[in-house]
Subunit: 915 residues, 2 copies
């Protein structure tokens, strides 16, 4: 007796009964209709109904009117509905009423047109009174007029609100639920008069005409501007069209044996097993949601209607088993009969995502691959950072951009120098600056958190903070620092140096005083597990709730490790950071930035090298080599057995020198009347001027330094070689690699590599041994990517520096662009994403792809890594996996994220290739 | 009787007699051998001989010894040689002596191994004495021992020099030519003793062994390190090998009826017709060249041996007709018999290149395409600039890099302000700065020349100077400017402001005082011709010598115009520049940089806009719009009927603001004890700080300004639209186009274009008309090139800004890189060419190619132009033609160069595709 066909063959059907559809048919039936059909199919008590398909809608949109045969088909299905429900349209004794709702394939919240109680006319009021009483009947009627008026006739909804206000005033009540039958009856009349006044027509008294016109109105609503804007924003095509569901009305407000509820099959915030939901007796579904009455826990239903409750529990189990996922469910009980009105896969918190996925694996509902597809790196990231217990009632000082997540408490300092010295005394300090530069990195390393007045989520402060795992709030509105007075003005009051503040890098809020911090138990367990080799089961036994979450994370991370093909390394310069990265699962150091070893107090050594005379230079060089030797020993020891990629000095030399403007002012004041001329300062100024560059990012940096300070590079390489030999002698297994930054032309790499090999050899000769250190090149300029075939001839590996590559490909500096225009670009929608956060596929991604393909073609055993900021961003990692790099290297706290996404990339790709 | 085959089929021959070769066989016979064969073939009196081919050499190099059959084949050819010359090897009465010389396909000057007089032994001395006397015989013999010793036996040449010095001392003479027969005989004995002492063997007394071993030595010389280095540097393959020419010796030093000479078939410096050369009676060829005796003009030969002279003239005519080019020729007369020893196409000056090419067209020797292939843009460029008459005896102040060619005389000024004010008084000024920035552009426009202490050929000063056609010397060694004292110290003395100096931008030299300038008559004529429509013939009649050169240039430019497919436009902002460009043949303005209209005194308007309050802003905006309107009227009028591409404001805003460091010092001094606080200056400093950027090149510029000063852009567009409408009303035919700079993402272009169309429309509405102004996008960032397909949807045309594209593709700023490392890169050979001067094919060129292909695929009617520095560089133009752009736009003085190279690109491509 099926009037429809399931397949979307030659001509897609215009109407599908719930009994004839299933969940695979969401293209045709919309998401809502397909789920109703599925529940019908598996025997759940869904009210009878049918779906007018998206195919019909598309015909309507193309023709500008209903397709020829639609009315006849709807008529046939309505007749079936009458026969199944035992009620008839227009039957005064027991009328069939229906809801008419739109339902597209992809949910469009707030865009959904709904008209309830369709089929209600003056003639059938008696039958409705018999079903739920007088007040119930008139309340249904006035609602129909109101919804029909707005949706079908286009009457301004405000007009009905005005009448409602008048009715409440007249009745002396405050809420609509207090209006009695008489008031509601009068309101129905008023509403109908409003229709006539506004558009010249009344509610049709033919139920079928009501239905027909409501269907047309829903179809037409697809192309209202609001819906088009929403679809454009969500990337939903304009030609999909919407389905329309016609469902028999059931009522939860017909008396004490009725009621409505909303529930989840598990706790959506913790993922704990057990049903979680709200119930309201003698109420409709919308009353549960809109908060006009306080809902009761589901237990209430168990107490008052245990049979219905047991029935519901059974259905929920059925649904979860059937959908193999946490479901959210709407239900209604009418006079003791349970109806399931809607279900869908439920939204959940990051913690619940992991807990549910892992539990369902244990329960045999899904396999580990499926579990991995159901969590993501963004969720994991939010689980790895400390949080404040509560900020309720705390004094909010200011709000900025959440630039690097976490929660930290410390004493405010206003410069890097003070940060370093206070931290050395064992204090926790928060470094607060107008903005940061390379000069501040030492202070940032010493601080527990960084706050800046200017700059965005990709400013220097934000990038460095994320890179070294410090909490950071950037671009704080209204923060003005007075460096002379050692105070700062905030919108929430002023603070002075030494004051304790609490910085929430996850929300961007800054509070006065010390808030209680809750450490991330997941992060702690991850590190602990690595330390004592405890496994997921042990973890679960140790800490009941967070332990079970942590166990879930460990389980899915382990599976991601099992599935992923991409390696995960970390960017680190110190042995504590390296050890932490190793505990979090890093398989090596992919980027050790030697400039971080020369900042802060050591910068003066570089200054001596660059500005000093011959003997200054030699002394500084010797000191640098010795310090580097010690640093390399530390990090190679920490990463014993694993690769450590050391990058030669990258930043412009002048970053190690005093600021030109500050020094110019100092010298001018020295030379002014009353000042004391300082020949040393004047000499320094000459030097700083000589090294000053208009655009240092495009100037003397990276491999280009070979032309001016080759000794410095040789000293670094020699220090690495001797540290390696020393550890080898001590029986360890060091694996250093060397990397040349900012190469634009293959000849630069060739020259640098020759010099580096010479330095390694000289260290070996002194030691009477041999040593092979792989030499790679950073691909961080478009020209390097475009000459990859030639670079590959002289490089053992490529490492993509996607930060700089983004800067030059887009021609925008991360530091300058954010405040100047990039933030505004994002706000105005000119750019969807920040290319410094998420790898830009068509520009930067294309260059990476070119370099990978052409480099590997020239040298099949070429190593390929990524060490830019993107290596820790979930979407970017998936793109990088599809491009085919060997490993990503990210900041230590992001190592678990990269591991997870590395595994997900594989299972997601597999599920896409096998539909 | 031919023993060889001409074709290089299956097995290439090892030996080819001159009589059996021709000029097409240089692969096999080397350049020298092929030319000797060709001259033999056309009946010129070439000494008999044969060539041992490169094939034999390659066999030798592969086997490490002579190929099996070579000795036998050489023997057969030597027998033929004996029969043709009538002399025999080892014949004491009249011995055959030969020269053995290497001769590769491509000339390797200084790498060529030569042994003369081979075959000379003790036994044949009597025959040689009979031929040229005793002194002649022993001189030949000692030379053989010397050359054989060095080349074949590897004896240190210094040993022979020591012996020569001793011989001269003993004879009491100063030069070798004064040594008598006895001395030379003794020297021969000494030399042979030297051989024995050094390597244990004497000169073989078997002539055939001498020949055999000399051939081997020449083959082996191919792989000496010196030759390999040279080949690598010149890009010559290592496997080509060299040929060896065995030629009968003839002597110009056998008596008064003998002599040697070198001559050109036309004057190689002017191109004037008529033989030009030197002659020395009773001398060998090397005596003419090495300057030991002063050569006589060829006329001497005419006077003393008119028959020989007439014979030579006939041969020279034959050669030029045959080679269809200016030839240089070496000849020897032995006892009244003329021998032609060598010929090749002669090197010539730029003027001669044009004159000869044009003359040969008139003479019917070559066609115009061939003439065009024989000149190039570099030659033309050198003809278009003024030169100093002579710098002989002038006081050289300093030398720097020849950054923009030309010769200019003016009074020194040390800042842009003074340059502008002095120029306004009608003085010619030379702007002398340590380095220049955008602030100086006004002063540079006002100056006749620019001199900087720092920066290279691609520094700001150099690039701007070339762009606006000013003479410039950059990076002057030892120039130190004292701005306070208004003096400058130079290596050649100190100068003060107002002193007159002469700047030679072609040589990089700076002189004290006013040197006499000779204008480029070619340039004058080019412009004049455009003005009065005079043609090449009239030009020739007007000015005898330069006129004929100018006529040649005009003729070849006209043919280039006829042949070229690429359009040529100019970069200009003022109507004088635009008019000049039009006279020089520009077909439009491809780049009108609106920022040039806002520099100098007008910069204050932008400052008011950016830093001022609401009313400042409005007033400044109105002024800017009015000025822009006038400027656009001027340039559109100048280019009536031709396109004018106006680019929106491009540079960082802060370029219009005061310098941060200078202003900081000023404010600090104001606030110091004894200073007077200036609230205005402090306020300005706040503003300047707010707009300061660490890397302005990568910051708030170009289309990004839309986010902060959209009104400015609208004002510019409106001014262009109203100016266009005004001219249209006046009956003119203006063709403005608009161009958006620094686009990285298609959404930026879309937003900018919408705003621009709005501004055009508002101007039209006010005027009650319509106006379509094409809107294009600059492709100057890698990402723009990589998203060309999408940009093309919103752009009427692309214009490649190859300067900025090079900056970002290479990640190096033109200004900073040159002094910091780029100059050193070039000097050390790390980079062959400066990518800012010549389009880098593998990096920037690839991006241009991608954008052209993908842009045109998306929009077939897309216009494609290039407006970067490279648009005026000959090699780059050829690359751009091959990529397929529609037009190049260069600085006005380079327009003729672009026209010439545009035509050459076509004829060169045709000649390559039809071998």
């Amino acid at each position: 007796m099926s009037l429809t066909v399931k397949s979307q063959a030659a001509t897609a059907p215009f109407v599908v009964a719930f009994a004839d559809g299933d969940m695979s048919m969401s293209d045709l039936m919309g998401g809502k209709g397909a789920n109703l059909a599925e529940m019908t199919r598996i025997g759940l008590p869904v009210p009878h109904g049918f779906t007018i398909t998206t195919a019909a809608c598309r015909h309507y949109l193309t023709l500008g009117r209903e397709p020829e045969d639609l009315d006849r088909q709807v008529g046939i299905h309505l007749a079936q509905l009458e026969s199944m429900t035992g009620r008839q349209l227009g039957n005064p004794a027991d009328p069939l009423l229906v809801s008419v709702r739109s339902g597209a394939k992809r949910s469009m919240p707030g865009m959904m047109e709904t008209v309830l109680n369709v089929g209600l006319t003056d003639a059938v009021i008696p039958g409705l009174i018999a079903r739920g009483g007088e007040r119930f009947a008139w309340d249904c009627y006035r609602r129909l007029v109101q919804m029909y008026g707005r949706t079908v006739l286009g009457v301004d909804g405000e007009l009905f609100e005005v009448a409602l206000v008048a009715a409440r005033r007249e009745a002396g009540v405050v809420s609509d639920t207090e209006l009695d039958a008489a008031s509601l009856k009068k309101l129905t009349t008023d509403f109908r008069r409003t229709l006539v006044t506004a558009v010249g027509e009344d509610l049709p008294q033919d139920p079928r005409e009501q239905i027909r016109r409501t269907i047309d109105a829903v179809f037409a609503s697809w192309n209202v501007p609001r819906a088009m804007t929403y679809r454009k924003h969500q990337g939903i095509g304009d030609d999909a069209g919407t389905a329309v569901n016609i469902v028999e009305m059931v009522y939860g407000n017909t008396g004490p044996a009725s009621g409505s509820g909303v529930c989840f099959t598990r706790d959506p915030s913790t993922g704990e097993p057990g049903v979680y939901g709200d119930y309201l007796p003698n109420a409709q579904g919308e009353d549960v949601v809109n908060g006009s009455r306080t809902p009761l826990p589901l237990q209430d239903l168990a107490d008052h209607a245990p049979a219905v409750y047991q029935q519901l529990m059974g259905h929920l189990r059925t649904l979860e088993t059937h959908y193999r996922d946490l479901c959210d469910v709407e239900f209604t009980v009418e006079d003791g009969t349970l109806w399931v009105l809607q279900t869908r896969v439920g939204k959940r918190s990051p913690a619940a995502a992991f807990t549910v996925a892992s539990a369902m694996v244990s329960e045999g509902l899904i396999d580990l691959d499926e579990a991995l597809r159901r969590v993501d790196g963004y969720q994991l990231e939010s689980l790895l950072h400390p949080r404040f217990m509560s900020a309720e009632g705390e004094l909010l000082l200011a709000t900025g951009l959440a630039a690097s997540p976490g929660a930290a408490v410390g004493e405010v300092v206003f410069d890097a120098q003070t940060a370093v010295s206070q931290a050395a005394e064992g204090r926790d300090v928060v470094l607060m600056r107008t903005e940061t530069s390379a000069d501040d990195v030492g202070g940032m390393l010493a601080a527990v958190a960084i706050v800046t007045a200017r700059g965005g989520r990709t400013s220097h402060a934000a990038v460095v903070a994320r890179g070294i795992g410090r909490t950071c709030v950037a671009g704080v509105d209204g923060l003005v620092i007075d460096l002379d007075a050692r105070t700062a003005a905030c919108p929430g009051g002023s603070i002075k140096e030494g004051d304790t503040i609490s910085v929430d890098g996850t929300t961007g809020k800054i509070f006065r005083g010390a808030l209680a911090v809750r450490q991330s138990q997941v992060a702690e367990l991850l590190e602990k597990q690595a330390d004592d080799g405890s496994d997921a089961e042990q973890a679960e036994q140790a800490e009941p709730v967070a332990g079970s979450l942590a166990a879930a994370v460990l389980q899915l991370l382990a599976h991601a490790d099992h599935r992923r093909l991409i390696g995960v390394r970390a960017n680190a310069e110190t042995s504590p950071d390296a050890l932490r990265a190793r505990r979090l699962g890093a398989e090596g150091i992919g980027l050790c930035r030697t400039e971080h070893m020369l900042l802060g107090e050591r910068a003066v050594l570089v200054e001596h090298m660059v500005l000093g005379d011959e003997s200054d230079r030699a002394a500084a060089l010797a000191d640098i080599e010795e310090l580097a030797h010690t640093d390399f020993l530390d990090i190679l020891r920490a990463m014993d057995g694993l690769p450590v990629v050391v990058r030669l000095l990258d930043p412009p030399l002048h970053e190690f020198l005093p600021d030109l403007t500050e020094l110019s002012v100092e010298v001018a004041l020295n030379n002014a009347p009353g000042g004391t001329p300082d020949p040393q300062a004047a000499l320094r100024l000459d030097g700083v001027r000589r090294w000053h560059e208009g655009n240092p990012m495009l100037g003397l940096r990276g491999v280009r330094l070979l032309t001016v300070v080759p000794e410095l590079i040789e000293a670094q390489v020699r220090a690495l070689a001797t540290a390696t030999l020393e550890l080898r002698t001590a029986g360890m297994d060091p694996h250093p690699e060397l990397m040349v930054p900012l190469v634009a032309d293959p000849a630069e790499l060739t020259a640098a590599a020759a010099r580096m090999r010479g330095a390694i050899e000289s260290a070996c000769v002194a030691d009477g041994t041999t040593l092979k250190i792989p030499i790679g090149v950073m691909i961080e300029l478009p020209r390097a990517a475009l000459t990859a075939d030639r670079l590959a001839l002289d490089a053992d590996f490529f490492s993509f520096g996607t930060n700089d590559l983004t800067q030059t490909t887009w021609g925008m500096s991360r530091d300058d662009a954010e405040g100047a225009f990039l933030a505004e670009y994002r706000e105005s929608g000119l750019l969807d994403v920040d290319p410094f956060m998420t790898l830009d596929d068509v520009g930067v991604g294309r260059l990476v792809r070119i370099a990978v393909e052409e480099g590997r073609r020239a040298r099949p055993d070429l190593g390929l890594g990524v060490c830019g900021e993107h290596a820790g961003d979930p979407i970017s990692i998936r793109r990088l996996v599809s491009i085919g790099v060997d490993y990503v290297s990210c900041s230590p706290p992001r190592v678990p994220i990269a591991r997870l996404e590395g595994g997900r990339a594989v299972v997601l790709a597999e599920s896409q290739s096998t539909p």
